[in-house]
């Protein structure tokens, strides 16, 4: 159980993975010539983000957007608007790279490249990491610390948060875990292109599962870190369902903030200077 600020019962982080077309170019046969599958990726920055930003403003909530560098280069105005609206931007690869063979040097170069892209577009310094495709390397934690990151959102083994240990010693690197139960693609990523994903759930079923889990976690003083994809989650029926759920969570003791804000709070609680 974590003691949250202001006697809140639970920390809730709305985190969006703005993968756009990389969702499709990194799966199956690449989809590079599948114009309409790519157009499903475009739906994220083009239609999903405006709807999501407007909804977040209604509630006055700040969220985290994990964005591949190439998406920022293709949609600079969208990324500027996300930053201008006060939301956090986190690392999510350059091309949404999912290879487990990436070397330390390659990964460091990718992180430097992305840091420059986002600093130039938004003035923000990236301090958080969510691995594309959930692929974490044996050197990842060390690299995150070297890059000045304060949190990772990749582990799935606990409801979190916790501090990582590197070489047997506690490090000022907070883990803000996630799980498929709070990942919209487990419910709304349908495709008939190989590898096929069937079984589309209705917005109502999805948010019912989230509300049940929220209730039980709040009772334990836990946290939730969402994994939401604007290209699917950005459909109006899902944004409206999420908005209704946010209202419910607000009236039931949720502390909504960015991954960065929650990580800073945890570090302070543990006696680290932030």
């Amino acid at each position: 159980m974590t003691k949250w600020p202001g006697s809140k019962r639970i920390a809730v982080m709305l985190a969006f993975d703005l993968d756009a077309e990389t969702m499709w170019t990194t799966r199956g046969d690449g989809n590079l010539d599948h114009i309409t599958n790519l157009s499903r990726g475009v739906y994220g920055p083009k239609q999903g983000v405006p709807r999501i930003l407007n909804m977040l403003d209604v509630h006055g909530i700040k969220a985290t957007f994990f964005i591949p560098g190439v998406v920022a280069e293709k949609y600079p105005q969208v990324v500027r608007e996300i930053g201008r609206s006060g939301h956090e931007i986190g690392f999510h690869g350059y091309l949404h790279e999912e290879s487990s063979d990436t070397t330390y040097q390659e990964e460091r170069a990718t992180m430097n490249r992305c840091r420059e892209i986002f600093e130039r577009l938004t003035g923000q310094r990236i301090v958080g990491h969510r691995a594309p495709g959930g692929v974490v390397h044996d050197y990842s934690l060390r690299l995150l610390l070297e890059q000045g990151y304060i949190y990772s959102s990749n582990w799935r083994n606990k409801d979190g948060p916790f501090l990582h240990t590197i070489n047997g010693e506690e490090a000022p690197l907070v883990e803000l875990p996630k799980d498929s139960i709070f990942d919209d693609t487990a419910y709304d990523f349908y495709t008939d292109s190989p590898p096929e994903r069937y079984e589309l759930k209705s917005p109502l079923e999805m948010t019912e599962i989230w509300r049940d889990e929220f209730d039980a976690l709040a009772q334990e003083g836990g946290m939730i870190n969402f994994v939401l994809h604007p290209q699917f989650m950005g459909r109006v029926s899902r944004v409206n369902a999420l908005s209704g759920l946010i209202g419910y969570m607000l009236s039931n003791g949720a502390w909504f903030d960015t991954n960065k804000a929650v990580a800073e709070y945890i570090l302070k609680e543990k006696g680290y200077c932030v």
Partner: protein
Amino acid sequence: MPTLLNGRQNGENISWPGGCRIAVMLTFDFDAEFLRISRAKSKGKEIGFGDYSRGQYGPHEGLRRCLDMLELYGVRGTFFVPGIVAETYKEQVKEVHARNHEIAYHGYMHESVRGISKEEEVANMEKSESVLMEITGRRPVGHRAPESILHPFTTEIMLERGYLYGSSMKDCDWAYLHRLDGRDVPLVELPNDIMMDDFTYYYFTFNDPAVRAMYSNREVISGWLAEFNGLAEEGDKIFVLKLHPQLIGRASRVRALGEFIAYMKQHGGWIATCEEVAGYVLEWNRKKGVQV
């Protein structure tokens, strides 16, 4: 007009005729058995008797129900018909036309292979257009790619062949003008999504090895209803239902769809053919000063 991509603008602020809140298009991909044949083919397989017969449920049973239901609620639909379906089920397609629905292009054999040549696709279009013209007396103005497989040259040949609209993209919820060589062109896109496609919920086969879930009408319609309500509230959106007579055409599903149509009529839906909506969108853009 450049595409809206600034992270904030959520549509083009179009107003629909008669104070309607949303343009609703009831579209039917009348593929019969060729849906399943071309799907299997694109995966290097063939279908067996079961899937032939499932596909023929469309022309033999589902279509009639859909047409009667549309008449009952006094609305017009848009039927995307592959050329070979118009040849094989000529009487049925004539009936669709006679009952005042729009008939539009959907491939010749429901071809769904990426990487074909421009010449090959033009040949498909020529063949299909002439078959459809025999029935309707005019060239089709609407295009939907089988299995949403568009080619890099599709926009160009649609323009060359006098099409008014395409309905295959999935990039937003508003109707927009296509662009070619950096300029707006008089070709409207009416995007759709897998959530409003009955295939997502009702396609079932032992071929492939697909076998998929069954959904209740309540699950399907409640999703569509939430989407319709949200889009109607935004005021400048379109709602394209993508249906297949062989899937939606079962008795209880057509009934549920009919009641949903009645709801949309009552709640600000402008229910029209794709041609009507595309024509309206093109005119609206011209009045706004877009040079096309």
